[in-house]
């Protein structure tokens, strides 16, 4: 290759410049707001303070944070519990049909998020399809109010992010040599012990990648709680939204955003560890 040392940097420069100017700088800017006071009329007053971070830990907001974490965690666990068997079944399907099955598992992920969420309004509404179905089956009581509940929010999150989790788990499953499972059987482990001691530990990176993805996107989500929770369920995403668009408390919104990003980074690091463990790398451990 006749590329000299500066050529690659030159090629990457415009993209890098764009990302630095419109992603790094704005993020640093907004996060720096977290250290300033809110102006009397909204806006920002440039006096240094840590008060905004203290407010994040205020019981009122900490509760919302923990509550969103709980909802996000539930969605994550449910998504993994559904995605794992699905990914496993796809990885066991005939070689030829695996890409097709995978394609159709991921396809909904690329259709509009709002529309996919809206579909659940249609299904869960008091006048929605499920209530109609129940009535048709002979149910005569009050229509069930399934919409605007926590379960509706969780269902929506799981539904929207499931394809990605299937993809992440499938990609580790498909890279797993079938001979490892055979070796386990050969050494005397039945199918269940083989799954628990070989298959599962080796596919944890996929589970972690999918799980972190669902959790991060769920905890910062504001569309699903707004549409399926009817605004009754404040999640961190909604809180940030409110600080910027209604309460006009940008410094506090910035502090909340910082908390979100820190959570995300912590989870990504955790995921990297899980990946390193399964691939047999040992980081930070004594070599003895």
């Amino acid at each position: 290759m006749s590329f000299n040392a500066t050529r690659p940097n030159l090629l990457a420069a415009p993209g890098v410049a764009w990302l630095v100017a419109f992603m790094v700088v704005p993020c640093v800017l907004v996060l720096s707001y977290a250290f300033f006071q809110r102006g009397v009329w909204g806006g920002v007053e440039y006096t240094f303070t840590l008060e905004n971070f203290a407010r994040v830990l205020d019981p009122l907001y900490a509760k919302i944070f923990l509550n969103s974490a709980r909802i996000a965690l539930t969605a994550t666990v449910v998504a993994i519990l559904i995605a794992y068997p699905a990914a496993y079944a796809i990885s066991r399907a005939p070689r030829m049909s695996q890409p097709i099955l995978l394609f159709f598992a991921v396809l909904p992920f690329w259709s509009n998020y709002l529309i996919r969420t809206y579909a659940w309004i249609v299904l869960l509404n008091r006048e929605g399809l499920i209530n109609n179905l129940l009535r048709w089956l002979g149910y005569t009581g009050e229509p069930l109010s399934m919409l605007y509940t926590e379960s509706a929010v969780i269902t929506g999150l799981v539904y929207n992010y499931l394809p990605f989790v299937i993809l992440a788990i499938y990609s580790t499953l498909s890279r797993l040599s079938p001979e490892l499972m055979e070796a386990s059987r050969d050494l005397g482990a039945g199918p269940i012990r083989t799954f628990l001691r070989v298959t599962l530990p080796l596919t944890l990176p996929g589970v972690a990648a999918g799980g972190v993805f669902v959790f991060v996107l769920s905890i910062g989500n504001f569309v699903t709680p707004a549409l399926l929770g009817g605004g009754r369920f404040q999640m961190v995403g909604n809180l940030v939204y409110d600080q910027f668009l209604t309460a006009n408390d940008w410094p506090f919104g910035a502090a909340l955003g910082a908390a979100l990003i820190l959570t995300m980074i912590a989870l990504l690091l955790l995921q990297a560890r899980a990946t390193a463990h399964a691939s047999g790398e040992r980081k930070g451990e004594a070599a003895q």
Binding site: D186, S279, Q288
Partner: protein, 371 residues
């Protein structure tokens, strides 16, 4: 080789087909206790499928597999007292060497102290003690190979199955490990069944060997038996180097080809004479009955292989002579040669055991099972 000649493992009329393709065709074979047995054949001959049926990863369409007289065909792999050493080694990447070795014993629900002792013993005999706490990723190819072997041996199986165990190693290491494997087999007194496509490896290591082609068993015997008395033309060609001379057996019982006559027993009709390069005697022109000329000389260390053009064959005959006696021969020299009738084989063109042309099955394998 060993005191007992009882078969520990009996393969009885075993057959396996994948859809329309027959991978293993009615194979019957006895494997004796404590012997080092090689399943040899070109790729796609069914040897790996046969091994996988012994281990329990494929179930035969026909026949039975008896271990010490008991039919094990219905048992799943984990219930069979046989262990397989995988070609890819299949070491668990998330476990250390020690954990890999302990795994199989934990499955037997043995006492922790017992597991520790047996693993330590096996680590010592396989020279792995210092690597006990490493993960497979931190090992060299040869070390991984030893861990794979140790992991199977520590279970003290009745029969150890080895699928191309040395395939991934370089030539030097492979030759060293061939002897190492033999030593371990001897010390552990376990029956070894090795699958290989390398005839040299089988000749070096095996007490007895079976040659397969297109799923069918062609010949079973000790290495010298197979080398000296190959059952058919395919085996003759597959094992070692062989010269083939096309010709015919006359009414007088003599095999004749262009400019060549050998006393061989056979029925009158077309025939092929097979002779090893070391069984051809050469001399100066006119000294021996067949005349020829040297077209090439290949140096092989201790000996040399002369390629000799004669009237009898289209491709030059290969003649192996000790390097010490080869000093004077040069390319282009004329010479004469003689074939020892006692040391050659005659294959009649239409003959029992001659493999009939069948489609090769090499492409048909469980796709997921290979590498």
């Amino acid at each position: 080789m060993n005191a007992s000649s009882n078969p520990i493992l009996r393969i009885e009329g075993v057959g396996k087909a994948f859809g329309p393709v027959t991978a293993v065709d009615n194979v019957t074979l006895d494997i004796r206790e404590n012997e080092f047995f090689a399943l040899l054949g070109p790729s796609g001959c069914g040897k790996t499928t046969l091994l996988r049926m012994l281990a329990g990863f494929e179930s035969p369409n026909a026949g039975r597999i008896l271990l010490e007289g008991k039919d094990i065909s219905p048992l799943p792999p984990e219930k069979r007292p046989l262990n397989l050493m995988f070609q890819s080694y299949a070491l668990f990447p998330h476990m250390t060497v020690r954990q890999n070795l302990s795994y199989g014993l934990e499955m037997e629900r043995l006492d922790k102290a017992v597991i520790r002792r047996r693993v330590d013993e096996t680590l010592a005999t396989t020279d792995l003690t210092q690597f006990a706490d490493r993960k497979p990723e931190q090992l060299s190819g040869g070390q991984k190979q030893r861990v794979a072997l140790a992991r199977a041996l520590v279970k003290r199986p009745k029969v150890l199955l080895l699928d191309e165990p040395l395939g991934a190693l370089d030539k030097k290491l492979r030759e060293k490990m061939q002897l190492e494997l033999k030593r371990m087999q001897h010390e552990a007194s376990i029956t070894f069944i090795i699958v290989t496509h390398d005839q040299e490896e089988a000749l070096v290591m095996a007490d007895r060997m079976a040659i397969l082609r297109d799923g069918r068993l062609l010949q079973v015997g000790a290495p010298e038996e197979v080398y000296e008395r190959p059952a058919d033309r395919f085996v003759a060609n597959f094992i070692g180097v062989m010269n083939f001379i096309e010709g015919a057996v006359g009414a007088d019982g003599l095999f004749r080809a262009e400019g060549l006559e050998v006393k061989a027993t056979g029925n009158a009709g077309p025939a092929t004479l097979a002779v090893r390069p070391e069984n051809i005697v050469i001399g100066p022109p006119g000294d021996q009955p067949v005349s020829g000329a040297i077209v090439d000389i290949a140096y092989h260390g201790l000996d040399r292989v002369l390629h000799v053009k004669t009237a009898a064959t289209a491709t030059p005959l290969q003649v192996r002579i000790p390097a010490s006696g080869a000093g004077n021969w040069k390319i282009g020299d004329a010479l004469s040669l003689k074939i020892d009738p006692a040391k050659c084989r005659l294959f009649q063109s239409i003959k029992r055991g001659t493999p009939c042309p069948r489609p090769l099955h090499s492409s048909r394998k469980r796709p997921s099972a290979r590498r």
